[in-house]
């Protein structure tokens, strides 16, 4: 197992204090992770030594920049067991999920005028269905709602059980012959649940639907191999895995990527341009219009190096141990209820809870006053909150730089909040 104190020391921000002297206890990595020195250095080095337009120039810097960018692509692809040409850089996971949804709406719009040129797998019509789950992040829900709004297709969802798992008992009537695309979250950012993605993707493929996975909360936290998951498209973000803001990844099978019409169009994604019409480059360029997120890719590649040096199995074990510790601590507190699985089986480190008679905003405020950063609200999974009859939750989401003392700080903060508001 890696040395958490040594890891902590790599993150300059973790040495800062908040509110005039409180030691920072950062337990909001589910929202965004902090960045180690190594990642910040990689980004800066790129700007100071290699910065230029990629894929467009023939001078020395342009070649250095292109090479740095494409090496980053290869490195990140390798991290998830993928091939470089199947990896598209986006600005965040949300864009990747939208690119997936737009493949369908664009194909449907183009098919009105020229059916021959689009892949029929992407053309939707009324009567078709799109399937998600009741634990999706808004970023994997709203784009599919919008797709339905544009095509007349119907949105369906897999419901949840009381303990925060997918209820798969009616899976084959939810994903049926009408289903054209199924998009599910790998690990829930609000419940922590890890879903049996493979089973769902297999059901999607059994009915000829395209399968999409939101891997935002899994790739930073456990070993993920794209082939094993069985998805056709898979999206995640860089900023939750030690990388910078402004970068995400969309992986796809060559079959699906090469059949998808472009979404954003413009420079760098073209093959031939005339005033009347244009043809498009193969993936990944086809989906990377305009100047790409070059420095961010280089930095994300350094983040991948950092994580791989720790070992993703070790990262996962570390988080499991912390999660177990936190779940036990929360269960031991009076008037505290965990929303989501309360064992570590098929569960990650995002831990939501509610405190009787206290609103999450007030819990979070008391924790913050003690330097403990947690997230309060609906965590962009509002329907999931409704499902559990709560307007919002408080969530702690530890990562590689957290230890048991950080969890203790959060637990003590909860008790302090109960005292402050006199509910205990």
């Amino acid at each position: 197992m890696f040395d958490v104190q040594a890891v902590k020391a790599d993150f300059p921000i973790l040495a800062t204090t908040v509110h005039g002297g409180q030691k920072l206890v950062y337990l909001d990595s589910g929202a965004t992770s902090q960045k180690p020195r190594q990642v910040l250095d990689a980004e800066r080095d790129y700007y100071e030594q290699s910065n230029a337009a990629v894929h467009r120039g023939a001078h020395a810097l342009a070649e250095a920049a292109t090479s740095a960018f494409e090496h980053a692509r290869a490195r990140i692809a390798q991290f998830v067991g993928a091939q470089a040409p199947d990896l598209i850089f986006t600005k965040n996971a949300t864009e990747g999920l939208n690119l997936s949804a737009y493949a369908f709406s664009n194909a449907t719009a183009i098919a009105q005028w020229d059916e021959a040129i689009v892949d029929p797998r992407f053309v939707l019509k009324p009567g078709d269905s799109v399937v998600v789950t009741e634990m999706e992040h808004h970023s994997n829900l709203v784009p599919w709602q919008e797709l339905c709004r544009k095509t007349g297709a119907t949105l369906r969802w897999i419901p949840l059980t009381e303990d925060g798992r997918l209820d798969l008992s009616h899976l084959s009537s939810i994903i049926d012959e009408t289903t054209r695309v199924v998009s599910v979250v790998h690990q829930s950012n609000i419940l922590g649940t890890i879903n049996p993605v493979r089973e769902i993707m297999d059901q999607a493929h059994a009915v000829g639907a395209i399968g999409v996975v939101d891997a935002c909360q899994s790739i930073p936290h456990m070993p993920v191999n794209v082939d094993a998951l069985g998805a056709d498209l898979l999206a995640w973000s860089g900023h939750k895995m030690l990388g910078p803001t402004g970068i995400g990844c969309l992986w796809g099978t060559p079959d699906v990527l090469s059949s998808m019409p472009p979404v954003l169009s413009g420079g760098s994604m073209i093959e031939l341009v005339q005033m009347e019409s244009s043809t498009y480059a193969p993936p990944p360029q086809r989906f990377e219009a305009g100047t790409p997120v070059v420095a961010q890719a280089v930095a994300l590649s350094a983040a991948v190096d950092y994580l791989q040096a720790l070992g993703m199995r070790e990262v996962q074990s570390h988080e499991q141990a912390l999660t177990e510790y936190a779940l036990k601590g929360l269960n031991d507190l009076d008037g505290v209820r965990v929303i989501g699985p309360d064992t570590i089986v098929d569960r990650g480190s995002a831990i939501s809870f509610v405190v009787d008679s206290l609103h999450p905003h007030d819990v979070g405020q008391v924790l913050d006053s003690r330097g403990v950063a947690v997230r309060v609200g609906h965590h962009c999974a509002w329907p999931t909150c409704r499902r559990f009859g709560v307007p919002s939750t408080t969530r702690m989401s530890p990562y590689i730089y957290n230890d048991e003392s950080d969890i203790d700080a959060a637990l003590e903060g909860i008790v302090a909040a109960q005292k402050y508001f006199g509910v205990k």
Binding site: H19, H361, D362, Q365, V366, S369, P391, S392, F421
Partner: protein
């Protein structure tokens, strides 16, 4: 950080003992507002009585700040004229945007001066304003204000 500068006694008191909570029987206007960042919701209703004084009802779920704010508002503005409610709302909004530098006028704001400290917590300003913006909307829907009157 001084938690107490946010959670003034008066605020905690209104939170624990909300005044005037409940809906009206025959509201002339009603507005449902949510805080999209945290999911807090409030319904504010309004009518005027024979003398032109406001009757206010509300229902909602949310944090101490948003709930106390609704309670304070209801206590403060029940019986006021629409014009007065405008004046008080404007003063309250100004206070919320003063980033803790505001000097609230207790004659105008009454118990609402207790929210001065909230302005130092940008993430909580929306909570404090929720009921106030809903009231404005309810007044517009009741035809008491026109849309352009927004403060």
């Amino acid at each position: 950080m001084e938690l107490d500068s946010l959670y003034q006694e008066i605020i905690l008191d209104h939170y624990k003992h909300p005044r005037g909570k409940g809906l009206l029987e025959l509201p002339q206007g009603s507005a449902h507002h949510v805080n999209p960042t945290c999911g807090d919701e409030i319904t504010v209703q309004v009518s005027t009585n024979a003398e032109g004084g406001l009757e206010i009802g509300y229902e909602g779920q949310g944090c101490s700040i948003s709930q106390a704010s609704a309670s304070v508002l209801t206590e403060l503005l029940t019986g006021s004229s629409v014009d007065q409610s405008q004046t008080v709302r404007e003063a309250f909004i100004e206070l919320m945007h003063a980033q803790g530098q505001g000097e609230p006028d207790e004659d105008v704001l009454g118990d609402a001066v207790a929210f001065a400290g909230v302005a130092k917590f940008p993430a909580r300003v929306k909570c404090a304003l929720l009921a106030w913006m809903a009231l404005q909307d309810a007044e517009i829907k009741a035809g008491m204000l026109s849309k352009g009157d927004g403060s």
